[in-house]
């Protein structure tokens, strides 16, 4: 449920770092808690994101949650397919359901995030 190669933050986003580009999405725990996702509101390419700041929103039938960036950098790609198929977030949150790609400023920020085991322990504690 929590792929080992990813990093996670306390707001339930995951990060996959490839070179200096980080792909960001929400974890299986987050999508399950939300229920059926009906809207994903994402920023535009070229915008800057900052660690801990909101970059968008994900909305289910019953609730809305802000998306917080686990890292700082410039957005180089957004997953526009989610506009027409927001349910992809529920169906495949670690792959097709990714949300933004960010050119990272400081790779150490990604390193400092939780690994899968730590994240699982964090959820167990929180739940």
């Amino acid at each position: 449920m929590y792929p080992k190669e990813l990093k996670y933050d306390r707001e339930h986003e995951w990060v996959r770092l490839e070179g200096d580009v980080a792909t960001i999405g929400i974890s299986d725990f987050a999508q399950d808690q939300l229920g059926e996702v009906v809207y994903v509101d994402l920023p535009s390419v070229g915008e800057a994101v900052s660690t801990g700041e909101s970059f968008g929103e994900v909305e289910s039938v019953k609730s809305v949650s802000e998306l917080f960036s686990p890292i700082s950098g410039e957005i180089v790609e957004v997953n526009e397919a989610l506009e027409d198929a927001p349910e992809t977030v529920n169906e495949d949150c670690y792959n097709a359901g990714w949300m933004i790609k960010v050119k990272v400023e400081d790779a150490a920020e990604v390193e400092a995030l939780m690994d899968a085991d730590d994240y699982e322990a964090y959820i167990a504690e929180e739940a």
């Binding site: 229920g35 059926e36 809207y39 019953k62 809305v64």
Partner: protein, 368 residues
């Protein structure tokens, strides 16, 4: 009455089915099982069952029961002079403010059954008992009564199979008796989903058996409060606490039809007549929203100016976009009027739409 974490007789059934439980008006209730959209669609296309045992049931009886209730509710009990018929109504204070919306069933010659919202059970009880004369008896049957809503185009077929040959379903907005799986129950052809169906009143001790029997039908899906809310809002049915409260009169709430002009002498009648004469300042309208999900409390705008707030709002699984109700000035209440809804940092365009948002259901087929 303590309100913290009350459980209906079906609580353990919900937990066993893996429901996500939430606090609702002090009750532990299922918000969803498999998912709101799936449950919603099950009711629109097949059969869904809901535990609504948290609602209040009061039995009112005695020689003066009819006359006394006429003074308490806005709608006219003469509309249900036939035994077994039911009436949707509101109950107002002297200022015309809505205390609750209720269904009143005419269950005996001198007897009525009132179904009240869970959140207002105590308030309603206090209000009704304070306004009944001593000659009228009232009994709170809420705790010993379970209520299961069976809703959807296939609902009557399921109930009919359980009730056996020779059972005739009650007409729409009527209540009758049945024996389901050897359990005697009351079956009312009512519900709040816009689909044909029934609400089954049974003794609390029998609820789990009936619930399980209903679930043994492959076409029956257990549904939570989440789907109940999306279903009722697609029909534009108002919800107490969101669409109406003590600060709103029935005319402004679009419920003028439950306060007939010809009726007088009930609590709030003068205030309601005054609103009618002067015309309401604002009205509850439906809004179809282009993008994003409108939710309770979000601002409604006209030309950038805030003109009201969203009363109820959700994503419509049937239509695939946001729908809402909102109180807006009467000048902006005509269907087709373009408005906007502030959805956090964005402004979404909205069109005033006369409910129901979803026009074709098994219930609309029944009415036509």
């Amino acid at each position: 009455m303590t309100e913290a974490g009350r459980m209906t007789p079906l609580y353990t059934e919900h937990v066993a089915l893996g429901a996500r439980m939430v606090d609702f008006a002090g009750w532990q209730m299922p918000v969803q099982y498999a998912g709101i959209i799936e449950e919603h669609n099950a009711v629109r296309s097949a059969v869904g069952i809901f535990d609504v045992s948290h609602m209040g049931e009061f039995r009112v009886f005695g020689f003066d029961a009819r006359e006394s209730l006429q003074r308490i509710i806005t709608n006219d009990l003469d509309r249900i002079s036939t035994l077994g018929s039911a009436l949707y109504t509101v109950m107002c204070d002297e200022d015309g403010g809505i205390i609750d919306d209720l269904i009143v069933y005419h269950t005996g010659d001198l007897e009525y059954l009132i179904v009240a919202n869970a959140a207002n059970r105590q308030t309603d009880w206090d209000w009704i008992t304070a306004h009944l004369p001593e000659t009228v008896e009232i009994a709170d049957e809420s705790d010993r009564t379970a209520l299961i809503a069976v809703q959807g185009p296939g609902a009557l077929a399921v109930i009919g199979e359980l009730a056996g040959e020779g059972w005739t379903p009650p007409d729409r907005f009527e209540i009758g008796e049945a024996t389901l799986d050897s359990v005697p129950v009351l079956v009312a052809r009512t519900g709040y989903t816009g689909e044909d169906g029934v609400e089954v009143f049974c003794h609390a001790s029998q609820a789990a058996a009936i619930w399980r029997t209903l679930l043994s039908f492959p076409e029956v899906t257990p549904c939570g409060l989440g789907a109940r809310d999306t279903l009722r809002l697609e029909m534009g049915y108002p919800l107490y606490g969101s669409d109406m409260d003590r600060g709103v009169d029935p005319v402004s709430a679009g419920l003028g039809w439950v306060a007939p002009k010809a009726k007088s002498g009930y609590i709030g009648a003068e205030a309601i007549a005054r609103v009618r004469a002067e015309g309401p300042e604002r009205k509850l309208v439906g809004l179809a929203v282009s993008e994003g999900v409108p939710r309770h409390g979000y601002p409604v705008l006209h030309g950038g100016e805030e003109v009201g707030k969203v009363a109820s709002g959700t994503f419509s699984p049937t239509l695939g976009h946001g729908i809402a109700t909102a109180y807006v000035p009467v000048a902006l209440a005509d269907p087709g009027t373009g408005l906007e809804v502030g959805i956090r940092r964005k402004v979404a365009s909205a069109v005033v739409t006369k409910p129901p948002f979803v026009k074709t259901t098994s219930l609309s087929a029944l009415k036509s």
